[in-house]
Symmetry: C2
Subunit: 114 residues, 2 copies
Amino acid sequence: MSSWNHEPPYYAVMFSSRLRDGEDDQYQAMAARMVALAERQPGYLGLESVRDADGRGITISYWTDEAAIRAWREQVEHREARRLGREKWYRWFSLRVARVERQQFGESDDRPVS
Amino acid sequence: MSSWNHEPPYYAVMFSSRLRDGEDDQYQAMAARMVALAERQPGYLGLESVRDADGRGITISYWTDEAAIRAWREQVEHREARRLGREKWYRWFSLRVARVERQQFGESDDRPVS
């Protein structure tokens, strides 16, 4: 997700984590399922996620407002995934909720954007 | 940076990017230099950065307030690095400034946190 048609203000949930044992199939299936579920939530705007070979990851999801974030936090499968994450997958994590106040996008002009 | 002793509110700069050609030595040296410089700026709180094998990266830096972010934006070497980034390194990027309103941390209790 490089560019964006939603103007600030909106909200971001920044989730940083480190996996204990790398990204196994079960973890990947859970992560993909959570993306699919988030996309169906009211107020969902988008998501960016990167994880490196050492299991360090940052996922940022974007939402219209705090009520949308609260509703997603209460979603039943998402609650269960978070419980499993704490128990099984994550060595550590941090979660921050922030109000996006401004944004800027750039692209090189000689290559396609993916 | 898994845990944290700074209470909200504070500010986050979320920088997402994709490199054109992967992470060469010159890019890595620039990125390391920028971290070293940021750490010397007034109002700097911390930084998290992840880049995957496809060259997709998310870096989040944390600052006490917007004035600190503006001062970092005007830092001379940082300006030059951003110019080079647009010209040479990044296929695309996005930058968002957000006010962190709440946070949560977790660690597994059976393994050391790194």
